[in-house]
């Protein structure tokens, strides 16, 4: 979390954390999933692809938060 001062926390990091956790769970499910699951979704391993997509999204959000951190006003 961001350092106090303005009391602000960076929502981008929170979003990245949640979507990242989901990405991880789904990727693992996609890797160990049975063929029946894949057949259900019209032949697409949606857990795997969806999971990877979410991991990429989470990484991009962390990157954004790193590159453009919240500016805390120096004087209040």
């Amino acid at each position: 979390m961001a350092e106090k001062k303005s009391g602000a926390f960076d929502i981008r990091v929170v979003i990245a954390a949640l979507i990242g956790i989901y990405g991880l769970i789904l990727t693992v499910l996609g890797l160990v999933g049975k063929q029946a699951e894949i057949d259900k979704a019209a032949g697409i391993n949606i857990n795997l692809y969806g999971g990877i997509g979410m991991l990429v999204f989470a990484a991009l959000f962390v990157l954004w938060a790193r590159l453009r951190p919240i500016a805390v006003p120096v004087e209040e």
């Binding site: 602000a8 929502i11 929170v14 949640l18 979507i19 789904l26 499910l29 999933g33 969806g50």
Partner: protein, 561 residues
């Protein structure tokens, strides 16, 4: 929908519950984190006017992305097809841009804390009371409806008893709003937006693959009950309920596109509050404009799945072929049926999370705007005056508790009289049209008097109610959305006429009192923003952004028209 052993029961496993539970841990965590930023009532009710524009912009559309929007629009997609996009491209985007470009300078610039407070400064107490009370009542009732819908869905999908889900959901929403106030609601709305996209985008892609891609969907709908007219947005006769294509286009553009949508998006405090929470004028104006970009693409993950469901799910296909009757399913189940048939465990849990998220955020948005109006506009102004700020902060928290309890009561009533709730919702959708008429006239015509403010509002609203009653009792016969277009249109016209008439007979306010509230009396510097830190760059100019957004909508209308 049937409770318990429904055909819609989803096969949720432990992993799906883990995914759902993870979301709620985050939701409450955000409430806790946001609490640290709340030290006075402005922090609690307006996030201390400190949020960046992309956050308020996403919250702006998320607050509206509730149960009615997601289930209702996918149902419309299944029933009417492509014309449903009008609710987004004609019925939302232009109004959002208008709010950002034209109206926001008055809202944000006059430093009012709510939409009713603007009423108070422009028209005085009677108009303020009418507006504040009707808004507060409507919000609590709608919060109850959202709560009830959430509970029904949980009941059908997972088999939980209705009252358990009502109370669990109410307690969760209550916890984070009383802790973190509007910031908690807004941050959760942003989180919810991403969860909904993560839930619905994969569903749409899998669905499209299932029916053989876009071309497959086009072929199946053209050959099916819907026919090829369900693939183009215009003229949308089925949706508007008019036989003549010309009237249908006129009805859509003026009824839906002008009175209904401008009324909703520009005067509804649930929405405007999100923009008021931004850090400066430039960010406040950009809020609805930034929101318009995701808004125009939401149809692709809400309406398209509905259209897919109508051709890919056998029960729904049958239902549609029967002209929308018989069987165990209805159009409202489109999204749920598609989830049931296509998603494996894991993705299924995420999809359920997305739906729950949207229902709760809808309710949270109602409550967070209710507590502001109730505390600032009603209690502080008329009942308990001149107390310390800390007192009103505490009051705001208790008002939230009270509002939640009333909402639970409303949910209980809704479970007994589901038709009543449908009526109420439709009725509220008319209320914004006269409000918009009063606002727009008041902002641009300095001669409009205080008496005209409240008399116009009351007579406009009475007209809306009258048209509603006439169409419900069959005196006016307009199927589809025609009745709401006519009702809102009539309310708008009557409000304007009565306001002009009353203004001509009463005394206008002093011009000095109207600075910052009326266009011609507000100096340009006060209406425009001085670009501050983080407002530079061409892509942060509100008017230019709005132009790009409008251009994109035109392109979308041509491509899918």
């Amino acid at each position: 929908m049937l409770p318990q052993d429904s055909v819609l029961r989803l096969d949720a496993q432990a992993i799906d519950y883990i995914i759902i539970a993870t979301y709620f841990v985050f939701v409450l965590g955000i409430g806790y984190l946001a609490k640290r930023a709340v030290s006075n009532s402005l922090d609690f009710f307006l996030s201390g006017r400190s949020l960046p524009a992309w956050v308020t912009g996403l919250a702006f559309i998320s607050a509206n992305l509730g149960a009615i929007e997601i289930m209702g629009m996918s149902a419309n997609g299944a029933q009417y097809g492509m014309p449903t996009v009008h609710y987004f491209w004609i019925g939302a985007v232009p109004a959002m841009l208008f709010l950002g470009v034209v109206m926001m300078p008055f809202y944000y610039g006059s430093k009012v804390r709510s939409v009713p407070e603007f009423m108070l400064r422009r028209f005085g107490k009677p108009a303020h009371l009418v507006n504040a009370i009707s808004f507060a009542v409507a919000q609590v009732l709608i919060a109850g409806v959202n709560l009830f819908l959430l509970a029904t869905i949980v009941n059908v999908l997972l088999g939980w008893p209705i009252w358990v889900s009502v109370i669990v959901a109410a307690v969760i929403v209550l916890s984070y709003i009383t802790l973190g106030g509007l910031s908690a609601a807004i941050y959760n709305e942003v989180l919810q937006f991403f969860v909904i996209v993560a839930a619905l985008l994969p569903l749409t892609l899998v669905g499209l693959h299932k029916v053989g891609g876009w071309q497959g969907l086009v072929d199946k709908i053209s050959a099916g009950t819907g026919g090829p007219e369900q693939l183009s947005a215009w003229p949308g006769n089925e949706l508007s309920g008019f036989n003549s294509s010309f009237l249908s286009v006129v009805g859509l553009v003026f009824g839906l596109g002008f009175v209904l949508s401008f009324g909703y998006w520009t005067t509804n405090f649930v929405e405007v509050q999100r923009a008021m929470a931004s850090k400066n004028m430039s960010a406040a104006r950009r809020t609805p404009i930034i929101g318009s970009f995701p808004k125009m693409f939401i149809p692709f993950i809400v309406i398209i799945p509905g259209m897919i469901a109508a051709v890919a799910v056998p029960e729904l296909q049958q239902y549609k072929a029967n002209g929308g009757s018989g069987g165990e399913v209805t159009y409202n189940d489109a999204l749920l049926l598609l989830m049931r048939d296509l998603l494996p465990n894991g993705m299924l849990g995420l999809a359920i999370t997305g739906l729950l998220a949207s229902f709760m955020a809808g309710m949270a948005a109602n409550l967070s705007s209710f507590n502001t109006v109730m505390t600032y506009d009603l209690l502080e102004r008329y009942v308990i005056k001149d107390r310390s700020d800390e007192f009103y902060l505490k009051t705001g928290r208790w008002v939230t508790v009270g509002g939640t309890i009333v909402a639970i009561g409303t949910a209980a009533i809704a479970s007994g009289y589901s038709n009543l709730m449908d009526y109420l919702q439709q009725l509220f959708s008319f209320f914004n049209a006269p409000l918009f008429a009063t606002f727009i006239l008041g902002m641009f015509w300095k001669r409009m008097t205080a008496a005209a403010g409240w008399i116009g509002l009351v007579s406009g609203t009475a007209t809306a109610v009258l048209v509603f009653v006439l169409s419900e009792t069959g005196v006016i016969d307009l199927p589809g959305q025609g009745a709401s277009f006519v009702g809102a249109g009539a309310a708008f016209v009557v409000d304007i006429l009565v306001s002009v008439l009353v203004s001509s007979m009463t005394r206008a306010k002093q011009e000095s009192e109207l600075v910052g509230l009326v266009y011609s009396l507000t100096p340009k510097e006060q209406r425009t923003e001085a670009a501050g830190e983080g407002d530079h760059g061409w892509y942060r100019k509100p008017v230019l952004l709005a132009g790009i957004s409008l251009g994109l909508v035109v392109v979308l209308n041509i491509v899918f028209g």
